[in-house]
């Protein structure tokens, strides 16, 4: 592990953690513009986090230690997950230790703790939020894994760094099967990040909420960490999507001059991706909770189809 690689790794994690609220602010601002509102500005999430960190955390009397440690566990696993995704460069020392399957596992770890903490206090909202989250997650996770298997088949490796190198730096080949994987991935992204067809990120105290119901009992710094982790999750998913389906611009190992270009590329891609997410959210209506399995089953089937198409078309190419 060279110091240069380590520097890239640290730089990437720091950038991911600190732009996370900005991406959320940008998506919210785009949504506001699409709804003919002025919007709160793209810096609003930072101000909210600042406010929450200064406030006292109120914890229910019957909350156990689990409830208190969960925000830290969730935030830590999100930071760790962010360190595995090649955002600027593929030479990540941490990425060698864990592949995409471990990444899915990390995201699952955060989710399990969040669900447990939601049920810990024993309020009705927390329990049903946790149950719904697990329903959505149980269906989204296999779909996400299938999406990952698709580029892994192409690159013959489950490490994200290797996949990106294979897709971005080898001679250009069109992979039709990636179209299926991309559709499936967008569907999983919407479901996992509590976006509109499945959940509404702006709702409070509504019977349809999922994510917000789980973190309803949190306040102060705990809530700030939960919100930040949630924003970071969106960044992780966006950068995974970019790494798998639009990898051009990510710097190769040892490619130092490529780094500023990579920063520019990822900025433009995240801006475009955030705007696209806002458009998707604005044109679609929230699904009934019982339609969510149908939505996610479609995502899973699209991912399976992608693998099948890959085996048919690339097998004899």
């Amino acid at each position: 592990m060279s110091p240069g690689d380590l520097f890239q790794q640290v730089l990437e994690v720091v950038i991911a953690v600190f732009i996370a609220p900005l991406l959320v602010g940008w998506v919210n601002q785009c949504r506001a513009w699409l709804q003919n509102r002025t919007g709160a500005g793209i810096w609003q999430p930072y101000q909210v986090l600042h406010k929450l960190f200064r406030k006292d955390a109120v914890v229910a009397h019957n909350a156990s230690g689990l409830f208190r440690v969960t925000p830290y566990i969730v935030f830590a696993s999100m930071v760790l997950a962010a360190s595995l995704v090649p955002m600027l460069a593929t030479a990540l020392p941490f990425a060698a230790a864990a592949d995409v399957i471990a990444l899915v596992g990390l995201l699952a770890l955060a989710r399990v703790f969040m669900a447990l903490a939601a049920m810990d206090v024993g309020t009705a909202f927390g329990s049903f939020g946790a149950r719904r989250e697990m329903l959505v997650a149980a269906l989204a996770e296999p779909a996400l894994l299938m999406v990952f298997f698709m580029p892994a088949l192409i690159a013959r490796s489950t490490s994200l760094g290797t996949i990106v190198e294979a897709l971005a730096h080898r001679p250009f080949v069109l992979h039709p099967s990636l179209a299926f994987a991309a559709v499936a991935f967008v569907m999983v992204l919407l479901a996992e990040n509590a976006r509109i067809p499945i959940d509404n990120p702006t709702t409070h105290l509504e019977l349809t909420m999922i994510h917000e119901a789980m973190i309803l009992e949190y306040s102060g710094r705990h809530l700030a960490l939960m919100e930040w982790a949630h924003a970071l999750k969106l960044v992780i998913y966006s950068t995974i999507g970019i790494a798998l389906f639009l990898p051009w611009g990510i710097a190769e190992a040892g490619d130092w001059p490529g780094l500023p270009l990579a920063v520019l590329a990822i900025t433009l891609k995240l801006l475009a991706g955030g705007a696209a997410l806002a458009v998707v959210e604005s044109v679609s209506a929230k699904l009934r909770i019982f339609r969510a399995p149908e939505f996610l089953a479609s995502a899973f089937l699209f991912a399976v189809l992608g693998v099948l198409t890959h085996l048919l078309l690339a097998g004899r190419a």
Binding site: A297, S298, L301, L312
Partner: protein, 218 residues
């Protein structure tokens, strides 16, 4: 593989995607939109094959596809939709996830069936045969699982798209005379279906084809 072959494969994959989207679609109006997209993709695939191979008659069949399947047929279908005031959801015989699972099984079957055939074909696009076959089977599945006559007709037309794509991918298209004949058949067929819709509704007050079981000689 050549670039043209890759592009055709990509379009083939998108065709399959549209077929699945049709299978999971509840509204007839969106079904017609998807049918239009399918036609456009088909024309694009034919055009790419034509440019890559220099087969001049493929240009005509691409133009014919655009005229018929992207412009005329959707126009007729939308008109019928408006006149019949059909805006409600389609009734399905089996629920959508099950339909999609059956669809996946059909795709596996189609891919396996296509392997020996496409090894015989010498075209740049032979890999797409399995997908074309899958599109035909999926359209067939859609016809079976829908109750409303209009969705069944869209399924029928989409099946014809699949057949057309199969012909293009294996043999660079059928002879021009055959293609013209089929195009005319499809056009006339749609007109006849259009008339039938109104007759069916007059007789049964509904487009639900399950009413046909009650037909009796009098």
């Amino acid at each position: 593989m050549s670039l043209a072959g890759q592009i055709v494969n990509l379009i083939a994959a998108l065709l399959l995607l549209v077929s699945f989207a049709m299978l999971s679609q509840r509204r007839v109006r969106d079904l017609v939109d998807l049918f239009m997209i399918q036609g456009a993709l088909l024309a694009a695939a034919t055009l790419v094959t034509a440019v890559a191979t220099g087969q001049s008659h493929l240009y005509y069949s691409a133009a014919l596809t655009v005229a018929l399947k992207v412009i005329v047929l959707p126009l007729i279908l939308r008109r019928v939709l408006r006149r019949l005031a059909l805006e409600t959801d389609v009734e399905l015989l089996i629920n959508i996830p099950t339909t999609m699972l059956v669809g996946i099984a059909l795709v596996v079957v189609a891919f396996n069936m296509a392997v020996p055939i496409s090894q015989l074909a010498g075209t740049i696009t032979r890999g797409a045969l399995g997908i074309a076959l899958a599109c035909v089977l999926l359209a067939f599945l859609m016809m079976i699982t829908r109750r409303k006559a209009l969705a069944q007709v869209v399924g029928f037309l989409s099946m014809e798209n699949g057949l057309f794509f199969a012909a293009t991918s294996v043999t660079y298209g059928m002879p021009m005379v055959v293609e013209l004949g089929i195009a005319l058949d499809v056009l006339v067929g749609t007109f006849v279906f259009g008339v039938f819709f109104f007759r069916i509704r007059e007789t049964f007050d509904s487009l639900d084809t399950s009413h046909f079981e009650k037909l009796k000689d009098r």
